[in-house]
Symmetry: C2
Subunit: 372 residues, 2 copies
């Protein structure tokens, strides 16, 4: 492990940096939006995979965080984070055992369910351990990935209410497929359609079950759209804190072409490693440090913003000169906004936290690799 250097552009590369001022501003903007609408914020930790960053969100007013997997929840709980919602079903005996272990220490952890069989397995396991678990009914609003279909939701509700060790705490709806629709009006229409169906279900369940008080959903792409749904009680937004090229390339209310509400706090530093061609240079970040998914990464380093990044194998990237412009010399450190933040963050062990050009801290990405 190389020692941490004070000056940002002396960090060994490839590495991830987070501008603390931008991060704090993003967190504050989202919290203020939720507060103004009377909604809670339970940001998704699957994006940043960092319990230290989660704590920043909690300090700013979040009521908890979301986790995608049990292994993420374990690390968050160990770090003292409360109010964890696991946003995918926990189905196998091993994972249910791990969930029960967390629940023993932290009764605020919740999980979604989307199938009667899963309800019964969870109920049996919790009853056998004399534990009580709050669950959210995960409803499929069109993504199809997880969630019960609307026509089976009431049947699933019955299974939950008959499960003596489970308590129906609310509804989850995540319209993942609408988050990156480039046009804001089209995204708004699509998201409201999805989420209003889930809102109707929530009203229905809430009438019958007084414990059913949470309606959790929304993503960064629809935060200011879903917030208008009266029934929604909390937002599960993730990417807003650090941002990425995929989100920055979609329109928002105030700009049809660019996501201007949040700024990119996360950047990747990469170094020019080979310069034997007149039209491009080779940099030291490839598939293994900049996940190939989502929008095109872009260079933010002044003087080189016209360079276009292309993946050049597992370990390298290519920065291509657009119109006979200048290429950076050998050894130059360049800064890029990543394509899709979540899977790229999962490739690194830490964030270097910067203020201006100074490295002020180093936060472990302690949920990295927690895919179980």
């Amino acid at each position: 492990m190389a020692k941490t250097r004070d000056y940002k552009y002396e960090l060994d590369t490839p590495c991830l940096t987070i501008d603390i001022d931008i991060l704090e501003k993003n967190i504050a903007i989202m919290q203020a939006a939720a507060d103004a609408a009377g909604k809670n914020l339970r940001p998704h930790a699957k994006t940043h995979k960092c319990s230290q960053l989660a704590k920043k969100q909690l300090e700013a007013g979040a009521i908890g965080v979301c986790a995608a997997k049990v292994s993420e929840a374990e690390v968050l709980a160990d770090a003292g984070v409360q109010g964890i919602l696991i946003t995918g079903p926990v189905v196998t005996a091993q994972k249910i055992e791990r969930l029960a272990t967390i629940l023993k220490k932290d009764s605020t952890i919740r999980v979604v369910v989307d199938h009667p069989e899963n309800v019964h397995r969870l109920d049996d396991a919790m009853r056998g351990r004399r534990l009580s678990l709050d669950v959210l009914l995960d409803t499929d609003v069109g993504l199809g990935r997880t969630g019960v279909l609307p026509e089976s939701a009431l049947e699933l509700r019955d299974h939950i209410t008959h499960a003596s060790s489970l308590r129906l705490k609310g509804v989850q709806a995540y319209a993942g497929f609408v988050q990156h629709i480039p046009s804001y009006p089209e995204r708004k229409k699509a998201s409201l359609e999805c989420m209003q169906r889930a809102a109707a279900l929530f009203r229905n369940l809430k009438e019958k079950e007084r414990t059913c008080t949470i309606f959790s959903g929304a993503g960064t792409g629809t935060y200011d759209i879903d917030i208008q749904i009266p029934e929604l009680t909390e937002l599960q937004v993730g990417s807003y804190a650090v941002m990425d090229a995929e989100y920055l390339n979609i329109g928002v209310k105030d700009d049809p072409a660019r996501f201007v509400d949040f700024q990119p706090a996360l950047t990747l530093l990469t170094t020019v490693a080979s310069v034997n061609h007149p039209e491009f240079v080779t940099v030291d970040a490839g598939l293994k440090s900049l996940y190939r998914h989502g929008g095109s990464p872009f260079v933010t380093t002044p003087g080189f913003t016209d360079l276009r990044y292309e993946w050049f194998g597992d370990e390298y990237g290519k920065l291509i000169c657009k119109d006979g412009g200048d290429l950076p010399p050998l050894g130059t450190v360049l800064e890029l906004v990543t394509s899709h933040c979540d899977p790229t963050i999962n490739l690194f062990d830490c964030f270097y936290i910067t203020r201006g050009e100074k490295v002020v801290d180093r936060w472990p990405i302690d949920l990295r690799g927690k895919s179980q």
Copy 2:
């Protein structure tokens, strides 16, 4: 961390398993091919990122291993692996410092160079530390990623021979862009064209520099092609040990459609997490555990080999029924061959080593995340 279970299909998922019998057979076949042709083997550790697996290759007869980055070489050297060749240029002050630290402990480490400026920086740094470093001249045979262009090779040679702390030990040529050409005859033609140009350069340098004795190159896709080049002294093959869908889908000498020389030793285990649709199920392996690059992953579990995998977000995949076939029930553990082994391995902390259906060991992927 879940405890390791003895039975393979009880492992918590997603996780990577390696069938030890297949791995050992792959290693033996490649070693035998090299031995029969009188070539050395220096397998690439960038693929498996595991010093324990590297040691298996050394025990079978490899003379060393390749590393893509300095940080990989550090871990390998710490694990006692000798004969490391770093196959990309080491250009920054930080990385050169790290290289010098390894060199102090292990004089067998070598690195490639592809630019006069890099030669001078390395020379200055090594001379200042009273160290002597063996280098290989990296020549670009068409990939363009790293390597000096043929017309500048002799000039670069002069820089190396005038650098008092460097010694020209050989030539490296890697034709990465030909490795996955599906047709074997076309791949053969393309690779021989590339590698014969490098062979001519090697003959030329060897005549003038008696220390220049290594001509290192080839990949899994061209191992039995490049082996026919008399000048080639060693093979840098990587994927053959574990294999992936990308390689399995290309033709070889004995089969125009399938890479039959090596078998897939590496598989990913994934569990069915949601079953609310008649035509597909959702499994717990997505972008963060199965890198989206290369060929399509395929299911090897008997009874389910007709299912088609699609990525379904960061944490999930979709297994789609082709023609009204059976879908696996909730909780079923399925086995898949990964799309591109290198970046997928880099997503995990360990391999579970299996013999048949029994888990016999657990090898840390100790080079995981070493992208610097």
